[in-house]
């Protein structure tokens, strides 16, 4: 019995240790911030694409669709080149900070949220736009009305965006540098520990990542399902 208790205690020590909590906090801070910023850019952009007509619109939409599959390592590389001390944005001193990681993740998640928002707004009856326009609404007001109409699909877009960056490892590894106590997040810590042959710690971190991701998605899904109920009533 003793070894069992000891195993559980060791496992708990592993989870509740200060370093792991810090890694967890950094992961959440970076990915949630990046999701919020991507939502602020992506939903209005997706809406504007829907309601406005402009030259080369198809090309822009195709570019955004391509961006939905942007390889994170390439994003990491490009962000690094821009942020390096002697690069164009070197004066910001952002490389190897959580800010650089947020920036890289915003670049990954924004096309996903924009693209999915655009796609979901296609399903709305075009009569609605005409009505809104006829009532003399500004672009801002139109976006608000439209996003309320398509809120379920937009929530799905947010979930997809968050999911793509919380699980992402290539970009944050390059721009963050996996620095202990500063830019180490769950995914980079898993790579680091696996490289060291510490499979036990790597597995615990993997489980934490999964549980965390599940809780955030559960919360978002609850909101989504509650909305569905309201609509049915």
């Amino acid at each position: 019995m003793n070894f069992l208790l000891e195993g559980i205690r060791n496992g708990l020590d592993l989870i509740l240790n200060k370093d792991v909590l810090f890694i967890l906090k950094t992961s959440l801070l970076v990915s949630i911030s990046a999701t919020i910023i991507s939502v602020l850019i992506g939903i209005p952009s997706g809406s504007i694409l829907t309601i406005k007509n402009f030259p080369f619109k198809k090309i822009v939409v195709a570019l955004i669709n391509t961006g939905m599959g942007l390889p994170p390592v390439v994003v990491g590389l490009v962000v690094t080149l821009f942020l390096t001390r002697n690069g164009p944005f070197g004066f910001l001193n952002w490389l190897y900070t959580p800010r650089a990681m947020i920036l890289a993740q915003v670049i990954i998640a924004t096309p996903i949220i924009t693209g999915l928002t655009y796609a979901s707004l296609q399903d709305i009856n075009p009569e609605l736009y005409r009505q809104i326009a006829a009532m003399g609404a500004t672009t801002f007001q139109t976006i608000l009305v439209l996003s309320r109409e398509a809120k379920l699909s937009i929530l799905a877009a947010i979930i997809a965006g968050f999911g793509s960056i919380i699980s992402e490892v290539g970009a944050v590894m390059i721009v963050g540098g996996n620095i202990k106590g500063q830019t180490r997040v769950l995914t980079t810590a898993i790579v680091f520990e696996t490289n060291k042959g510490n499979f036990d710690i790597a597995i615990v971190l993997g489980v934490i990542l999964f549980v965390m991701s599940f809780i955030v998605n559960l919360a978002l899904t609850y909101i989504q399902l509650n909305r569905v109920k309201q609509i049915r009533i």
Binding site: T26, L29, S33, I36, I37, L40, T84, R85, N86, G90, N93, L95, Y96, T97, P98, R99, I102, A137, T138, F140, Q141, L144, G177, N178, I179, K180, Q182, T194, N195, K196, G197
Partner: protein
């Protein structure tokens, strides 16, 4: 009119939200750049945990925060050439000399060493166990067509391995020569799975020893000694380098404090020190 007030309200909320967001993002990444020192270093001092101990001590003493970027020596030197690091801790003597000669680095000082060992599977199909000379062992490995795992990442260890192949004027066939392109630890783990031979620094090998079935088969105290140097990145060339912080870290690495930490690092755990401290005359 009604619409307009609603619109203003939303705009107000939106701006407020952005403001809160900026506040949320601020902690942890406040601009305190003068307190940050970027140290580009090799994987061996990072994976063994030595650099964490040194940096923690340094932080307590000086208040500086050190950002450790652990890559191979080759890449660390490249970071120095781009002015992206403030100070380097590397082990690739020829590259270091060139780096300083070209005006990128200052005050190169060798202060620590351990040695490389040739590691391989227990049954030793190449029969190198007990070989006294590293080149002898390498020749046997190439001749007996056994699997050899290389870092392949231009790191100090990889450079050393390449000079050895040059010395024996032969190399394993390409299908018997695997380049991992990864750090020392991942490479050892891979070699363990594939039952191959490889060149490793002793410190990293010892820290993994319990998890793997590879043995030290050849030691060559003379030829395989592995010197670590610290180099300041030239702040005249790269004005953005944190010269003051780098200098203070430099002095700390050459101090008695560091000597004590290095000599005693994990000594009890492994029955032998992983690194030896030996301050040599400043060569450049």
């Amino acid at each position: 009119m009604v619409l307009n007030t609603a619109q203003n309200k939303f705009k107000l909320h939106f701006i407020l939200f952005l403001f809160l967001l900026v506040l949320l993002l601020s902690p942890g990444c406040v601009n305190k750049n003068n307190n940050d020192i970027i140290l580009a270093t090799t994987t061996s001092v990072n994976d063994t945990g030595l650099i964490d101990v040194l940096v923690e001590r340094f932080h307590k003493k000086s208040g500086f925060t050190v950002k450790i970027i652990a890559v191979g020596s080759g890449q660390a030197i490249k970071m120095g050439k781009m002015g992206q690091a403030d100070i380097l801790l590397v082990h690739s003597p020829e590259d270091e000399e060139e780096f300083v000669k070209q005006g990128y680095g200052l005050d190169r000082t060798t202060f620590m060493y351990n040695d490389f060992v040739i590691v391989g599977p227990e049954n030793d199909p190449a029969g190198i166990r007990g070989a006294k000379k590293a080149d002898e062992a390498f020749k046997k490995i190439a001749d007996s067509k056994v699997l050899f795992i290389s870092r392949g990442d231009e790191s100090g260890t990889h450079k050393k391995e390449k000079t050895l192949w040059e010395k024996v004027k032969t190399k394993p066939d390409s299908e018997k020569y695997i380049e991992t392109g990864q750090g020392m630890e991942s490479t050892i783990i891979l070699a363990n799975e594939k039952r191959g031979y490889l060149l490793s620094d002793r410190a990293t090998y010892l820290s993994l020893k319990k998890k793997i079935a590879l043995n030290i088969l050849c030691e060559d105290e003379k030829y395989l000694r592995n010197y670590y140097s610290v180099i300041l990145v030239n702040h005249n060339k790269f004005p953005k380098v944190n010269a003051r912080g780098a200098k203070i870290l430099f002095e700390f690495l050459l101090s008695e404090d560091t000597k004590n930490i290095v000599e005693n690092f994990k000594k009890r755990e492994f029955g032998q020190p992983l690194f030896h401290y030996e301050l040599s005359i400043r060569r450049n």
